[in-house]
Subunit: 209 residues, 2 copies
DNA sequence: TCTGGCATTGTACTTTTGGACAGGTAAAGG
DNA sequence: CCTTTACCTGTCCAAAAGTACAATGCCAGA
């Protein structure tokens, strides 16, 4: 378990060292040694001094390493937080966070949690609730589906092929098709792509146009 | 620090005790003693056997106590997760979660983090992204796509057929296919359904299994 | 008991999709 | 000028998806 800080200067800040005496620093992701890459523990990305257009690529690159990534920023911004977390980061905090906070955050993200400033979290949840609130009604026609049909639909929603669905439900590929035909009819979609999107509450080509 | 489980039966499940040997159980929030109320540690609310209309009030009541609340459900549902977390809960998991998972979750929420199943978290973030309209978050290897390929991919993401895409982009259906082949290769998906899902930041069959 | 809905599967057929192989053009850069 | 890259198209083929028509078995409710 090791904490690694990616920061332009390549030097650990005082508070970082306070929080994690064993922490290491690197100026670039490319500089990381094999050993670090295979290790566990959180990865901290300092974007405070980074030009804006460079931040997202860095976050993505950091997340690609497979370790939980916390993005540290100079000025917290909601939109940016969205973007980074959506890109795979699991933490978003201020560069000047106190050592105690840093430790808390590390604990959280290293155990599979998500951390961001409480105020931001509040905003996040409010937003998603609103987003789904309006679309909850769209899930309604799912009631028309029989239990078996629903199982098929759920698999399609995850991108499974007919063969895979047949395998999973222990039925013939033919039967899967039969269910699908019924589903298309009931949900008023024309193919599996639109079904998959509908199951995920995503507007499709024909429902919007 | 104590963990308290609110469950209709008032009896701790096997795995809960395994996870937290010192845990306590209560049938109702009103039954909680003063001592418990002033203590710290997480509060676990079992809603599996609870009628639907009773759940939300319970969650709200539990959150009012000021301790981090984890809601445990029998059947995870996105809309419900939203609602509960928005009501103040900071954890959402299955009642049958393993002791190890429970411990992880406790660690996270007791350190100010948010915990929910990874797949759900994905959906959450994707949703907020769409809700806020921050398009800049088209992440991942989408960078590798050429402009034309991106146009095709975006149409697929909306559920369009090859013929429709050809029409929209004023090219041959054959060309659409050519672009699609390139896209599949670059994004590591096998068909248009998985592409559509990936474009919408939704985990697919093979990426989760 | 009869009926209707559900689940299942079959054969046969059409459409759509995706891949293999093989080109052609146009723009950008060394 | 030559190479690379993106873009576009063609033919051929195979697999997957989807439809039409038909049939069987189960089970719950009238």
């Amino acid at each position: 378990m090791s904490r690694v800080f990616i920061t332009p200067t390549g030097i650990l800040r005082e508070r970082w060292r306070e929080a994690f005496p064993a922490a290491r620093a690197a100026a670039k992701i490319a500089r990381l040694t094999e050993k670090v890459l295979t290790d566990t523990g959180s990865l901290w990305l300092d974007t405070a001094q980074l030009p804006e257009q460079l931040r997202m690529p860095r976050v993505i690159a950091a997340c690609a390493l497979g370790r939980p990534v916390v993005v540290m920023v100079g000025v917290p911004a909601e939109g940016e937080a969205h973007a980074f977390l959506n890109a795979g980061a699991v933490g978003y905090c201020h560069v000047e966070a106190t050592p105690e906070q840093l430790q808390e955050i590390a604990t959280v993200v290293e155990h599979g949690g998500l951390w961001m400033p409480p105020a931001l979290l509040q905003r996040f949840l409010a937003l998603t609730t609103r987003a789904t609130g309006s679309q909850m009604t769209q899930v309604q026609p799912l009631n028309e589906l029989t239990s078996r049909e629903l199982m098929v639909a759920e698999q399609v929603a995850k991108g499974a092929s007919n063969r895979e669905i047949a395998e999973i439900l222990s039925i013939t590929e033919r039967t899967v098709k039969a269910h699908l035909s019924a589903i298309f009819e009931k949900l008023q979609v024309r193919d599996r792509v639109q079904l998959a999107l509908k199951m995920n509450n995503i507007p499709t080509y024909h429902t919007v146009n």
